[in-house]
Every structure is written in structure tokens, then in C-alpha cells.
């Protein structure tokens, strides 16, 4: 007569019964292994225990799984039904602003970054040339400083030829200058919209100071002795000129909307006219 048939789920449930069989089996197996470092007697003692455990475990499973009846918790002990929490959920709306929802809804196109880089590079080269002409009678000195970045790779140490025009050095400097201007312009175009507040401040002042500082710290590692050849005040001024010019050009470019602000229909790829800026 199966007493379980009388018990309804509300009164309790059957769960697997507790048993010491696994413990016996575990101790038995462990003793058998430990006999390797103790005494061969443990093989027999362990084997006996393991067998006892194995048989006991078998009988817990076959022919029917051994169960115990666990009565249901008293009503007072049960977890209460989960009730809806008063007050509504307030969804943060895209575009509402504030610190909690800052999404890049619009961004500057890459072309703006390239243009800004070129503009900044030209401005920088112009100022550098003028400064060099005014202070040292040669327009090239500061410009050639760029070559310092690549010269070590060619085994050329910085020296007096930096003061004047020297075709190889000028070419390396030009390549370095153009590549870096373009890359940093691209970085500006990507990053500036993400920064809070004033992009011109970030791009024009803060960023140049940061990478000048990093460069100052690391140049001794890359090319010992090069730090002395660089006029750091001029360097910072030129970086700021670049930053402000590039920042200005980029900020004035047309922004493009990101896909996030498009309705689902457009994002899903349907060809649809998107009108207006309603969010």
C-alpha cells in the first residue's frame, strides 16, 4: 500500500532518502589507495568497506529509488507570494540626457577626422616654420624634430644636421608628421563626441598636454639623449596649435546619426524614409 498516493503535493514531497552508502564507499576507496603508503591490510579493510558501501548504494537505487517523505513547510514559514512592487518602472528614454543615459547618437564622419588632421598638421607646420625662422634663422629645425621619432630605427643619431635642410631627414619628418596628423585627426573625430563638456578644451588643451607628458616620460627609454634635443615648450605649443585647429575643424563638421536613433524598421534593413528627429 503506497502511502504516497494519499499525500497531495500541498502536504509534502518525496525526495531521495539520506544514506551513508556513499560515505562508506568513499572511505573504502580512500583506504585502499592509502594502503600504498601504509600497510597492505588497508586493502582488505578498505575493500570491505567499499563493497559494503557499493552494495548499500545499489540497494538505494534498485529495484526502486529509496525516498523519504518531506512534509511541506508550515504556512508561516513559507516565502510569501511575490507581489507587484508599488510604483511604476521608469524607462530611461534615449536622448533624454543626463548622466545615466549618454549614448553616441550622432558622430562625426571619418572624413572630418582626416580633414581636421590635415588642417592641424598644416597649421602646426606653419607655426613651427615661422618660429624656427624667427628664432634660429632656419625654418627646418623644429620640423626636423619629428624625424627623431624614426631616426633611431635607421641607426642615425640626432646631431647638427637637424638645424638645416637635409633631404633625407626632411622626408622622414614629413612622413611621420603626415601619418601622425591623420591618425590623431581620426582619433579626435571618434572620441571627441564621447567626452563630456567642451570638445575643444579636451582636444585642444588636455589631449596635447597628456601625450606630451607621456612622450616626455617615455622618450628616454626609446632614444636616450633625444630628450635634450627637443625644445619642450615649443613642442607643447605646437601640439596645442594642432589640437585646437583639428578640434575646430572637426567640431564644425556635419554630424551623422547613429543607427541607435533610427526606428526598428530602418535598423532591420527595410528601405524606408526616415523623417524627423522624433525619439
Amino acid at each position: 500500500m503506497d502511502s504516497e498516493a494519499l499525500a497531495s503535493p500541498a502536504e509534502g514531497l518525496s525526495l531521495p532518502a539520506p544514506t551513508s552508502a556513499p560515505l562508506y564507499l568513499a572511505v573504502g576507496l580512500a583506504l585502499m589507495l592509502v594502503s600504498l603508503v601504509t600497510s597492505v591490510l588497508f586493502v582488505w579493510a578498505g575493500g570491505g568497506l567499499a563493497l559494503w558501501g557499493a552494495v548499500g548504494w545499489w540497494r538505494e537505487m534498485f529495484p526502486e529509488e529509496a525516498k523519504e517523505f518531506v512534509p511541506a513547510q508550515a504556512e508561516s514559514e513559507r516565502a510569501p507570494e511575490i507581489v507587484p512592487v508599488p510604483g511604476h518602472v521608469r524607462n530611461l528614454v534615449v536622448g533624454e540626457g543626463g548622466h545615466r543615459v549618454r549614448l553616441p547618437l550622432e558622430y562625426h564622419p571619418y572624413s572630418a577626422g582626416l580633414k581636421g588632421g590635415i588642417a592641424g598638421g598644416l597649421a602646426m607646420a606653419l607655426v613651427a616654420g615661422v618660429h624656427g625662422w624667427l628664432t634660429q634663422g632656419s625654418a627646418w629645425h623644429v620640423f626636423n624634430g619629428f624625424a627623431l621619432i624614426v631616426l633611431p630605427f635607421f641607426g642615425v643619431a640626432p646631431g647638427p644636421e637637424l638645424a638645416g635642410f637635409h633631404a633625407g631627414i626632411a622626408l622622414s619628418a614629413a612622413v611621420v608628421h603626415v601619418v601622425l596628423s591623420l591618425l590623431i585627426g581620426l582619433v579626435y573625430a571618434s572620441v571627441l563626441p564621447m567626452l563630456p563638456g567642451h570638445p575643444r578644451l579636451w582636444g585642444g588643451i588636455v589631449a596635447p598636454l597628456v601625450w606630451t607628458g607621456a612622450g616626455f616620460v617615455s622618450i628616454e627609454l626609446v632614444e636616450p639623449g633625444a630628450a635634450e634635443s627637443i625644445q619642450w615648450t615649443v613642442f607643447i605649443v605646437l601640439q596645442i596649435v594642432f589640437g585646437m585647429t583639428a578640434g575646430e575643424v572637426i567640431s564644425r563638421s556635419e554630424r551623422v546619426k547613429t543607427l541607435q536613433s533610427f526606428p526598428l524598421v530602418a535598423r532591420a534593413g527595410f528601405e524606408v524614409d526616415i523623417e524627423g528627429d522624433e525619439l
Binding site: M1, D2, S3, E4, P9, A10, G12, L13, L15, P16, A17, P18, T19, S20, A21, P22, L23, L25, A26, V27, L29, A30, L33, V34, L36, V37, T38, G56, W57, R59, E60, M61, F62, P63, E64, E65, A66, K67, E68, F69, V70, P71, A72, Q73, E77, R78, A79, P80, I82, V83, P84, V85, H88, V89, N91, L92, H99, R100, V101, R102
Partner: protein, 559 residues
């Protein structure tokens, strides 16, 4: 122990009071996943204290140069036992314990798939630990009776072979881990089977709590890696007892083969240890940011990717054995690649925090500490993945600093967070928030004093596993700072243990859902009844309790 077709009313229900022997009997014969989970965690913390004492002794010895507190052989035994204990007897059981306790509750099941196998696994683990520590009393080492193994936690051949490890100390290392390894494997079989076959209605795989997903990946890694260790250890046993030549260099055997086998296990092992830490963080951070986890699918995909790639990076532990250019490049690149999915997860936790309403309760403090510390740990790992730099830093304190950053800064911090988070569910009492803060700050400061400075010692050239060092090397200051940090960490753990005791002496009762969380375990009473759920729940989203609490904006409309 006779089986019968009729159900038995438990003995305890027939008595008016349960004596201590009845309680002990209940705990020893239990097959309930919750009790076994608590047993695993409690045993793990017991071994944590022992392993911690071993660490304190080592730091005391290293605090000043040319110290004579410990003999060199004692020091060797200490670092061997400390490492072995922490990995196999603290890390493995605690993650198995939390997994055992929470997986059935989180998926709406009443127990694990194989409850008796579960019990067997726990006892095998515990007996393995006892066998390992028996070595202090029973083994006949080279130096006389009562010596623990002294070959390092990875027991490289040929040092671990019969010729160089005389006596039985190394055999105790082998047997202890062999026995407890069966516990881990049976736990993994249980976790996989339970997760795949016993989910409640509506709980599709993409509605599983991230905790359960991550334990699933961990279980596959266990099934892959632990038997490899078992095989290698059996080979070592054959070498030591039956005259086999697997790692016997004099007969043509290859000692590096042991390293390959060990680290093929060993690297997945550290992910087995760390991924559950990720699991705890993935549950705690959303609740205490009051936001859903950012990028659920990517978290799952990244975890699976980590599991897969982790199998292919083992020889980054072996860059200095002369692997050759091809292998060095492969392992360096693969190691760097494994940083990518890990980074994705880190970004997702940070994105979860961003814009959330941050509640700085104790579990959250530990998880925020985890985020920063794990970042540093991962970065120092990427530094080590470059083989040439690795040649300089291998076997130095830089490596020691790196893996302690991962295991303590990552795993132990999240384990403490998990303890504060789920202790109320397991016992019905809250842990004191005030003591929790003391615990966190003491442990945090101590951890950084010890292990942040340890990077410097490593770069300055201090090798690991040395029992002392001369004064002229310039390492004394850093070692002294590291040692002082150890004391603070010990105090932090002591505060934690005190908090545990206080929770029972002066209980602050917790309801079913003290943290206003969203997964199924919080719908049961604290502690849950033996059967977990009187009626099996049905779910429609990843946060079933959110749906019940906020029917005006249920999750299933957004998933």
C-alpha cells in the same frame, strides 16, 4: 540502509528534539544539494585557514633577509602544502559548494540530478584533503617521520620521482589530490546533467542565469582537465611504485612530458577556479547596480570562448624549458587571444555599473575590488605571455604576484562577495554590514600591500621558492611590506569568521529576498525547504522575480 517501496518519514520528525548525534547523523548521511553545498564551503574555509597559516609562516620567514625562523626544508614543505591546499582544498570545494547549492535553486529544480553521487563526491574530496594532511604525521620522508610533500604544488619530474623524492611524502601529495579529484569530476557530471535536463518549464538555455551558464562551462573544463591530471599522477605512481619510466630521464623518459601533462590540466584548472568568480560577480553586480547585466549573450559567448581557448595555452607555463620558436609563438599568441573574451566580460561588468544606481553594500564592495584587481591581474598575465619577457620573469615573484592577483584579487574577493550575498539565503540571517566593511577594508589594504609590491620584487629579480635572501639585493623593503600585508589579510579573515559566529549568536533575520534580487533562489524561504519549490515555477524571462514584481514592464518584452 534497506530500500523499500514505501516512503519513510524522517526520523527527526518523530522526535520532539533532535539531539546532536541525530544532527550529526543527518549531516553525514545527507544527499541534499544544499547541505552538501554548505559542507563543501565550510570545508573549503577550514582549509583556507590552514593554508593561510602556511602563508603567514612563509611571509614571516621572508620578512627580513637571512632569517632563520624556518629551515629550508620546512619552507619547501610550506610552499608545497600552501599551493596544493589553496588550489585543491579551498578553491575547488568552494566553487563546487556554491554551484551545488545554487544551481538547482536557480533553475527551478528540487535537487541535483544524482544526489548520492553528489554526496560521494563530497566525501572523496574531504578524504583527499585528510590524506594530504596525514603526510605531516604519517609519511616517512628523507628527513624522518612526519614530513609533508616538498616538491612544489606542481611536483615537476624528476624531482618528484623515486630517486629524488624518497620516502612517501610525494605519494601523499599524489594520493590526496587523486582522491579529491574524483570529487570534482563527479560534481562536474552532476552540474552538467542537472543544468541540461532539469530546468523548469520556460527556462530555455538563453534564460539561464549567468551563474548557471558559467558553471556549465566550468564543468566541461573539469571533465576535460581533471582526468588528465589523474592520468599523469597515475603515471607518476607507476614510476614511484612499479619501476615504470614515464618521467625517468635515466631510462629515456622525458621530464618535460610531466610538465606538458600537468599544465594541460593546470591551465584549464586556473580557469576552473576563476570562472565561478566571474559567475558570482555576474549575479551580484547587476543587483547592486539595479540594472540588468549588460550584454548577456556576449557574456555567455565570451565564457564559452574562454573555455575553448584556455585548453590551448598550457605551455605558457613552460616558456623556459626550450620549446622552440614555433611552439613559443603559438602559445604566446593564444594566451594573448584569451585576453579578448575576458576583456569583453570586464567591459560588460563596467557597462552594467555605468548608469546604474550603485548600492555599496559588502557584496558589491568585494565585486568592485574584483573588477580593478582582475584587470591588473589580466594585464600582468598578458605581459607574461610575451615569451621573451617571460624568460626574464619566469619563476620570479612577478609570476607569484600575477597569480595571487588572479586568485586572491579575483577569486577570493568574489568568493567573499558571494558569501555575504548568499549567506542570508543559506541560513536565514544577515551578516553584519559593519563587520563586512571592516573585513573588506582590512583585506583590501592587506592584499595590496602584499601583492602589489610583489610585482616590484619580481622585476628586481627575486626568484620564487627561495627560503631566504641576502641583504644586499635591495629586496628587503619590498619583502617587509609584503609580509606586513599578510597580517592585515589575516585580520580581515578573522573579522569574517567573527561575523559568521555573530550571525548565529545575535541573528539579524533575513527574509526570502533581502537584496531585492531577481533570480529564482530568492523566491524561496531563507533557508529554503528541503524540496526547494513546492510547485515548480514557470519562467518567461531571465529575471523571473522582476517580472513578478514589475508586471507593468516585464523583461520578456525586452529580451
Amino acid at each position: 540502509m534497506s530500500a523499500s517501496t514505501e516512503t519513510r518519514v524522517p526520523e527527526a520528525a518523530k522526535r520532539t528534539t533532535a539531539g546532536w548525534s541525530q544532527s550529526l547523523h543527518d549531516w553525514v548521511t545527507t544527499v541534499d544539494h544544499k547541505r552538501l553545498g554548505i559542507l563543501y564551503i565550510a570545508a573549503g574555509f577550514f582549509f583556507l585557514v590552514i593554508g593561510g597559516v602556511e602563508a603567514i609562516l612563509m611571509r614571516a620567514q621572508l620578512a627580513v633577509p637571512a632569517n632563520t625562523l624556518l629551515e629550508p626544508q620546512e619552507f619547501n614543505r610550506l610552499f608545497t602544502m600552501h599551493g596544493t591546499t589553496m588550489v585543491f582544498l579551498v578553491g575547488m570545494p568552494i566553487i563546487t559548494g556554491f554551484g551545488n547549492y545554487l544551481i538547482p535553486l536557480m533553475i527551478g529544480a528540487r535537487d541535483m540530478a544524482f544526489p548520492r553521487l553528489n554526496a560521494w563526491g563530497f566525501w572523496m574530496f574531504l578524504l583527499g584533503g585528510i590524506v594530504l594532511y596525514m603526510s605531516y604525521f604519517a609519511s616517512m620522508g628523507l628527513y624522518g617521520a612526519g614530513t609533508a610533500p616538498d616538491v612544489g604544488w606542481f611536483a615537476y619530474a624528476p624531482l618528484a620521482g623515486k630517486a629524488f623524492s624518497r620516502g612517501n611524502a610525494t605519494d601523499y601529495w599524489i594520493l590526496g589530490i587523486l582522491i579529491s579529484g574524483f570529487g570534482s569530476v563527479s560534481g562536474a557530471i552532476n552540474m552538467v546533467t542537472t543544468t541540461l535536463t532539469m530546468r523548469c518549464p520556460g527556462m530555455k538555455m538563453n534564460r539561464l542565469p549567468l551563474f548557471v551558464w558559467m558553471m556549465l562551462v566550468v564543468s566541461f573544463l573539469i571533465l576535460l582537465a581533471l582526468p588528465v591530471l589523474t592520468g599523469a599522477q597515475v603515471m607518476l605512481l607507476f614510476d614511484r611504485f612499479m619501476g615504470a619510466h614515464f618521467f625517468d630521464t635515466q631510462a629515456g623518459g622525458d621530464a618535460v612530458l610531466w610538465q606538458h601533462f600537468f599544465w594541460f590540466f593546470g591551465h584549464p584548472e586556473v580557469y576552473i577556479l576563476m570562472i565561478p568568480g566571474f559567475a558570482y560577480a555576474s549575479e551580484i553586480i547587476p543587483v547592486f547596480s539595479r540594472k540588468v547585466i549588460f550584454g548577456y549573450s556576449f557574456m555567455v559567448a565570451a565564457t564559452i570562448a574562454i573555455g575553448l581557448v584556455a585548453v590551448g595555452v598550457w605551455a605558457h607555463h613552460m616558456f623556459t624549458v626550450g620549446l622552440g620558436k614555433g611552439l613559443s609563438v603559438w602559445f604566446a599568441v593564444m594566451t594573448m587571444i584569451v585576453g579578448i573574451p575576458t576583456g569583453i566580460k570586464l567591459f560588460n561588468w563596467i557597462a552594467t555599473l555605468y548608469g546604474g544606481k550603485i548600492l555599496l553594500r559588502t557584496p558589491m564592495l568585494f565585486c568592485i575590488g574584483f573588477i580593478g584587481q582582475f584587470l591588473v591581474a589580466g594585464l600582468s598575465g598578458i605581459l607574461l605571455s610575451g615569451a621573451p619577457l617571460n624568460w626574464q620573469l619566469s619563476d620570479s615573484y612577478f609570476v607569484v604576484a600575477h597569480f595571487h592577483y588572479v586568485l586572491i584579487g579575483g577569486l577570493v574577493f568574489t568568493i567573499f562577495g558571494a558569501c555575504y550575498y548568499w549567506f542570508p539565503k543559506m541560513t536565514g540571517r544577515m551578516l553584519s554590514e559593519r563587520l563586512g566593511r571592516w573585513h573588506f577594508w582590512l583585506f583590501f589594504v592587506g592584499f595590496h600591500l602584499t601583492f602589489t609590491t610583489m610585482h616590484v620584487q619580481g622585476v628586481l629579480g627575486m626568484p620564487r621558492r627561495i627560503y631566504t635572501y641576502p641583504a644586499e639585493r635591495g629586496w628587503e623593503v619590498w619583502n617587509a611590506i609584503s609580509s606586513s600585508g599578510a597580517i592585515l589579510q589575516a585580520l580581515g579573515v578573522a573579522v569574517f569568521l567573527f561575523a559568521l559566529v555573530q550571525a548565529f549568536r545575535r541573528p539579524q533575520w533575513a527574509g526570502p529576498d533581502p537584496w531585492n534580487a531577481w533570480t529564482l533562489e530568492w523566491s524561496t524561504s531563507s533557508p529554503p525547504p528541503a524540496y526547494n519549490f513546492l510547485t515548480i515555477p514557470e519562467v518567461r524571462s531571465r529575471r523571473p522575480l522582476w517580472d513578478l514584481k514589475h508586471p507593468d514592464d516585464p523583461d520578456w518584452e525586452h529580451e
